[in-house]
């Protein structure tokens, strides 16, 4: 049953090209902004940090850093967009047709959640692949296999987490226009909250602390790890201290508020958030079903 419901939700989402486009819009905007002027800003900042650094290495680092952010933001925006199917079903009360079938409420809820997870994982994986191609073609950088696999695992983990969080959030949304506006806000604010437009260290410390409490920047921090590991090494010419400076400046070290923590701590927090929002979301979707 769940399989058929997930298949239906996928079919509906992928049948609508505008839904796919809008779910990727925030990532596209971030990418375009960097390509046009933000990367030049970062590059000149880096030239001051690391005098005499190779300009190719600087560009490669900035590109990999941006693309790590883009991939992470994709996991966040696509898992939200995928829940458009739920919002639409709710606005038209289409649930009723499922509820007169011998399908349990649990199946219907699981159908939406799994649908969102599968859709976001597919789209984010495509973005992950495209980002690797870009790095390879433009910067001649290839991530090591373990780093690629790690990014892929992160994609899966983040899609699970965000699908759960959004499944709770969308139960407060009654109509499609409101959902679209919410999506726009998430897409725009997401870039800032992930410290992708401006690095956290460039922000006032109170703001930086706030951003570091949110799972968005924590997810971005994790994703930037495998993306920039090699380019940072090349940029620092292997000097450990320089690498550490870069990692601190560019938000590659996991933090909760202003306390440095291990990656595992972040994952434990994510696991807790996932469980919490999954339970809340499932309960609220169940109630919306009537």
């Amino acid at each position: 049953m769940i399989y058929h419901l997930v298949r239906r939700n996928l079919l509906i989402f992928f049948r609508d090209p505008s839904a796919i486009f809008f779910s990727l819009l925030a990532s596209v905007i971030l990418f375009v902004l960097y390509m046009t002027f933000l990367s030049t800003m970062q590059a000149s900042a880096l030239e001051q940090y690391i005098p005499g650094a190779d300009s190719g290495a600087i560009e490669a680092f900035v590109d990999s850093w941006v693309l790590g952010n883009v991939t992470m933001i994709t996991t966040m925006t696509t898992s939200l967009s995928a829940l458009a199917v739920f919002v639409e079903d709710r606005a038209t009360d289409r649930f009723r047709d499922f509820l007169v079938s011998p399908v349990s409420r649990f199946d219907v809820i699981a159908g939406y959640l799994l649908g969102a997870f599968v859709i976001s994982t597919i789209l984010s994986t495509v973005v992950l692949i495209l980002s690797q191609l870009y790095l390879w073609l433009v910067d001649d950088v290839t991530l090591s296999l373990p780093d690629v696999l790690r990014s892929l695992l992160y994609v899966v983990g983040f899609c699970l987490l965000f699908s759960a969080i959004w499944s709770f959030a969308v139960t407060f949304i009654r109509s499609h226009p409101v959902f679209m506006s919410f999506g726009t806000i998430v897409g725009t604010a997401g870039g800032f909250l992930a410290a992708a437009y401006v690095t956290a260290t460039q922000l006032p410390s109170a703001v930086a602390t706030f951003i570091n409490v949110l799972p968005i920047n924590q997810a971005a921090t994790l994703m930037r790890g495998p993306y920039t590991r090699e380019t940072a090494y090349a940029l620092a010419d292997g000097e450990q201290q320089v690498i550490e400076t870069i990692n601190t400046e560019y938000g590659v070290i996991p933090q909760i508020a202003d306390v440095e923590v291990s990656e595992w701590t972040i994952w434990l927090v994510f696991l807790g958030l996932f469980g919490l929002f999954l339970a809340l979301g499932a309960a609220r979707i169940g109630r919306r079903l009537g």
């Binding site: 058929h4 079919l11 047709d97 007169v100």
Partner: protein, 313 residues
């Protein structure tokens, strides 16, 4: 015949509002049962309860021998529902919709495909089966909805206002389909409508008003009880007629031939039992008659008589 639906004292309240108030009725196997009422009379709420979508506040309901509230899954497995509003996915084709909704009943994929073929032929859905549901006309959608409701070969079909919003031609088509299905598949049909004339086609009619059944029976019996046949006469001279009908009715006429007479808009109106009585009156006053009209009592009359305070009187 066995009762396919048995409802005893069904009540559904929303806060202080009572949408359905102590309903009791039975639907016989293989029959067409029509629930007639104005908008907001409680028809859809009743269907909502019977189809397991809404939980009754109180009352006993069995559908196909399964108790509501205890065996809901079994009820869903053996009943089909056509909703008032279209609930298939507009962005998918009719075929995709049918295959997906059919798969929710745990039917093997092959059987579902065969079923889609069979039903789409019967309901003439083939010509637009690969078009997007959202692009279909109202009548086409409704036919697709009926196919969807029949995917799992149910014994009982609920139709909530299946013809509302359709043009007369599509309405006729939907009705033809319903009657055809009932005849060929032996389906029991439970439908709601606010079109009085449609209930003429049902075996049993229950009229619901403010959540209560105010009259029930076969259309014939309801008409006999709540509607009168009228004979309208345009007379050259009313003298003979008026003489006959003044004071005690049916003075020289066969007793019981006419049940009343009145003058209305320059016409003389006689309430008669049937067409034989009308013929006798026509013969009697033939020299004076310039024009006449015989009007059968309709379900409209039944409904208006009942809901305008004639119920039980």
């Amino acid at each position: 015949m066995a009762a396919v639906v048995a409802v005893d004292g069904l009540v559904k309240r929303y806060g202080s509002h009572t949408a359905v108030d102590d309903l009791s009725f039975e639907v016989e196997e293989g029959s067409t049962f029509a629930f007639l009422g104005t908008n907001g009379a409680g028809k859809s709420t009743t269907i909502g309860c019977l189809t397991t979508l809404k939980r009754p506040t109180s009352g006993e309901v069995t559908v196909l021998g399964h108790r509501l509230g205890a065996n809901d899954r079994l009820i869903r497995q053996s009943t089909g529902v056509v909703f008032q509003d279209s609930l298939l996915d507009p962005i998918l084709s009719v075929r995709e919709n049918l295959l997906i909704r059919g798969s929710l009943y745990g039917i093997p994929a092959k059987t579902i495909k065969r079923r889609v073929e069979e039903l789409s032929e019967v309901l003439e859905v083939e010509e637009f089966i690969d078009r997007r549901y959202g692009r279909l006309s109202g009548g086409q959608r409704r036919r697709a909805d009926i196919v969807r409701a029949l995917m799992h070969d149910p014994q009982l079909l609920f139709l909530d206002e299946p013809t509302t919003g359709l043009d007369p031609d599509s309405r006729e088509k939907v009705w033809k389909t319903i009657t055809e299905l009932q005849r060929t598949l032996g389906l029991t049909i439970f439908l709601t409508t606010h079109y009085m004339e449609e209930t003429e086609r049902a075996d049993q009619v229950a009229i619901i008003d403010h959540g209560r059944i105010v009259a029930a029976g076969t259309p014939g019996r309801l008409r006999a009880e709540y509607a009168r046949n009228e004979l309208l006469l345009t007379l050259g001279s009313t003298a003979a007629f008026d003489r006959e009908f003044t004071g005690e009715l049916a003075g020289g006429l066969t007793p019981g031939l006419a049940e009343g007479a009145a003058a209305r808009d320059g016409l003389r109106v006689v309430l008669v039992q049937d067409s034989t009585a009308a013929l006798e009156i026509l013969n009697r006053f033939e020299p004076d008659i310039e024009d006449f009209e015989f009007r059968h009592g309709t379900m409209d009359d039944v409904f208006l008589n009942i809901t305008r305070g004639g119920a039980g009187s």
